[in-house]
């Protein structure tokens, strides 16, 4: 039993409440599938909204959403990367649960953005890309085919011709400040997920603790 416990301690992401052997068997089964079908760890608040799978591309329109999508994998011990994000907020990322020691940042890949992203996709689990102004279908296709052979997820912050799901913030409210008093406390945003021809799904998410709540009492942060 002690060896089993040490296994659980060594391998991040194992649930100590369940049988270790069973969980490892699940993992092995997941690895034997095509890489494109492996689930990628996602924050609990987002998992219900959009379960992430390796080999997929997700388009978002807000930096908070991009960070939230990357946070789950990073928390589970995976490496994440950000390409083209010149305005990366390290503290906000750490607050969301991104482990900065396993984060690779290429703030300004310039004209090499495609090669850089492809190289990052090879070795990282989640790559967040802020693409240049216009990306044509063919360029996106190159990355897409690379993604399918690797077990990575591409999160695009900006316009992208093809995406498995598009997440956008429809409505956002901040609680805390009034006119000159208080401070920013919590953000509640209505997020819309559009995937293919399916009807759009909506959910309320809150920041900085990402969770899907309908009504939640706002606690005043001390200090």
């Amino acid at each position: 039993m002690s060896s089993a416990r040490s296994v659980a301690a060594r391998a991040p992401g194992l649930d100590p409440g369940r049988s270790v052997v069973e969980q490892l068997r699940e993992r092995v089964a997941a690895m034997e599938r095509r890489p494109a079908l492996q689930p990628v760890p996602t924050l609990p608040g987002i998992a219900g909204l959009v379960p992430m799978h390796a080999g997929s591309t997700y388009a978002v329109d807000s930096a908070s959403l991009a960070l939230a999508l990357a946070a789950g994998a990073s928390q589970a011990g995976e490496w994440v990367g950000f390409a083209g994000c010149t305005d990366f907020g390290a503290e906000a990322a750490a607050e969301l649960g991104i482990e900065l020691s396993r984060t690779v940042l290429v703030p300004d890949p310039g004209e090499h953005w495609l090669e850089v992203t492809a190289a990052l996709v090879d070795v990282l689990r989640v790559v967040v890309l802020r693409p240049p102004a216009s990306v044509d279908e063919r360029t996106a296709g190159i990355l897409d085919s690379r993604l399918r052979t690797r077990s990575a997820v591409l999160v695009v912050h900006g316009a992208w011709p093809r995406a498995d799901a598009r997440l956008s913030v429809e409505e956002s409210r901040w609680s805390g400040p009034a006119s000159g008093t208080g401070q920013l406390l919590q953000r509640r945003a209505r997020v819309v997920v559009r995937r293919g021809a399916r009807p759009p799904a909506r959910a309320d998410l809150t920041w900085p603790e990402v969770c899907a709540t309908e009504v939640r009492e706002v606690r005043r942060a001390s200090g």
Partner: protein, 527 residues
């Protein structure tokens, strides 16, 4: 043989500060003079004086901070010089070293002392005094009685006679315990070491304890304490010469591969790993490129080869770091043909501290390799690693460290940093804050007075050119909080008093706007 360089702390500090050794100077610790040099002593500066007293005696006195590491570092060349003449050197403390007297090799002992003295003076250590005696204590005392660049040889068996005449003050160099003992001996009416030596050993031990007994033995010249000589540190540098000299980065990186492997295995042989390495490239015998690289873990052969590549590439590209990405990629030529590359370990640590986890870290290795490939594409410092640090503005609270480098000079996070903006951290932090405008009801620009009073309520705002080229048009402020005033760096001409505002726009997105004397800027966004 004991070699004494008096006032070594001052000598080392003056050398580091690049000042003349003739100017009066003193090294202070806790505002008290610890060591002062000859010119300062003639002005009346003494050890143990307070800073103000010392300055009153000698207004032009140069005050230097105490730094034992610096003293030891500066003493290392002296040790090496003596070691060249006679191995088995023991550094007793910075400024004082002991070595077995090289007897008949140099003729007499006086000749040996002359040789050592000459070698040190050639190494620009002017104040050298040498004492030779049977035991360590007597040799040190002999060195202290010697003149500058002179030596005193106590004949064999003559220690007791030599020590007899010395005052008991000679024991005061033995730290606070020694000073206490000197006071006690003086109160007992013992003026010279001879007086002490004449007392019976049992009586001294009963009255003064074990320390006193040891001092008594020393005073009789009967102390046979020997010193532990140091083993010369192993030579860990590795270098490779090219004949003929190479002028292409690719050829050089290919040729240093085996040397890098030798360097790493050589360290591994001593159970060491290097975490900091200086890479030097020589052209026609002159070091033309030298840079210290730090590794977050430790250097492997492949890492070293990469560092050589980056270093020579950046030295070779004419436009330097500001060059375009493409230009940087294409520069394959170095400025001058390189005929030698040397690896010097700057920081080595025991390999046990860097062992691989039992279950391996294969995926991390994979990432390292993949990222190194990206670095090859866009340049070494275009790939970064975010780290947190302390500060008041969001931009100051984070730092981007080039991948493969260690973060240095970070401000501590665990300080309170009064004046920083509370609440969740902004998701977007602009490296170059775009200019913004904030106006009140009447369309006047909102200002913050010197006392931190806001002149009007912010009603509308606009951002000229938000980081990615798209500005924000005029929009109403639905809610705002602040100001959080800060006046940073006022002692060295900082930005002047600034105030930060959290502003929520009509679309529900929040922004962090800063009012500085020069105008409004958009510092960060809670997008």
């Amino acid at each position: 043989m004991v070699v004494w360089c008096p006032d070594w702390s001052v000598v080392a500090a003056l050398e580091e500060a690049g000042r003349s050794s003739r100017s009066p100077a003193a090294v202070l610790a806790a505002n008290v003079v610890e060591v002062c040099n000859g010119p300062a002593r003639t002005e009346g500066v003494r050890r143990g004086q307070r800073r103000r007293d010392a300055q009153a005696r000698c207004p032009e006195l140069l005050l230097l901070p105490a730094n034992p590491d610096r003293d030891a570092r500066a003493f290392e060349p002296v040790l090496a010089t003596v070691e060249d003449l006679r191995p088995g050197v023991a550094a007793l403390r910075p400024g004082l070293l002991a070595v077995r007297a090289p007897g008949s090799w140099y003729g007499t002992e006086a000749d040996a002392a002359a040789t050592v003295s000459q070698a040190l003076v050639e190494g620009e250590v002017w104040d050298v005094r040498i004492g030779i005696a049977d035991d360590l204590f007597t040799a040190e005392q002999a060195a202290r009685t010697a003149e500058v660049q002179q030596w005193v040889v106590v004949p064999e068996g003559g220690s007791a006679v030599f020590l007899r005449g010395l005052p008991v003050h000679a024991l005061a160099d033995d730290g606070p315990r020694g000073r206490e003992l000197v006071g006690l001996l003086q109160r007992l009416g013992l003026r010279t070491l001879g007086d002490l030596a004449d007392l019976p050993a049992e009586a001294v031990e009963q009255r003064l304890g074990a320390h006193g007994a040891a001092v008594h033995r020393r005073a009789r010249g009967a102390d046979r304490d020997l010193f532990a000589a140091r083993t010369p540190p192993p030579e860990l540098d590795a270098d490779v010469s090219f004949e003929p000299a190479l002028d292409s980065v690719e050829a050089i990186t290919f040729s240093v591969r085996t040397t890098a492997e030798r360097f790493v295995t050589q360290l591994a042989h001593h159970q060491l790993v290097a975490t900091g390495v200086r890479v030097e490239a020589e052209s026609e015998g002159v070091v033309c490129s030298s840079r210290t690289w730090l590794h977050p873990r430790h250097f492997g052969a492949r890492d070293l080869v990469d560092r050589v590549h980056w270093q020579l590439q950046s030295a070779g590209s004419t436009s330097g770091a500001g060059g375009s990405l493409r230009g940087r990629k294409d520069t394959g030529r170095v400025r001058a043909p390189i005929d030698r590359v040397r690896f010097v370990p700057e920081v080595v640590e025991p390999a046990a501290a860097h062992g691989e986890a039992l279950w391996g870290s294969a995926s991390d290795d994979l990432v390292e390799r993949g990222v190194a490939r990206v670095q090859g594409m866009v340049g070494f410092d275009a790939v970064q690693r975010p780290v947190l640090q302390g500060g008041r503005s969001p931009a100051a609270r984070q730092a981007l460290v080039p991948w493969g480098e260690r973060a240095v000079d970070l401000r501590p996070v665990d300080r309170p940093w009064p004046g920083r903006v509370p609440g969740p951290a902004p998701v977007r932090v602009f490296a170059v804050p775009p200019v913004a405008e904030v106006v009140d009801d009447a369309g006047r620009e909102v200002r913050v007075t010197e006392r931190g009073v806001v002149t009007g309520e912010p009603r509308r705002f606009r951002v000229g050119d938000a980081g990615d080229g798209q500005g924000l048009p005029w929009q109403p402020v639905t809610a705002w909080a602040g100001p959080w005033p800060v006046d940073e760096g006022w002692w060295s001409g900082g930005t002047g008093p600034t105030a930060r505002f959290q502003v929520v726009g009509a679309d529900g997105r929040a922004w962090l706007l800063v009012r500085a004397p020069g105008g409004w800027t958009l510092e960060a966004g809670y997008d």
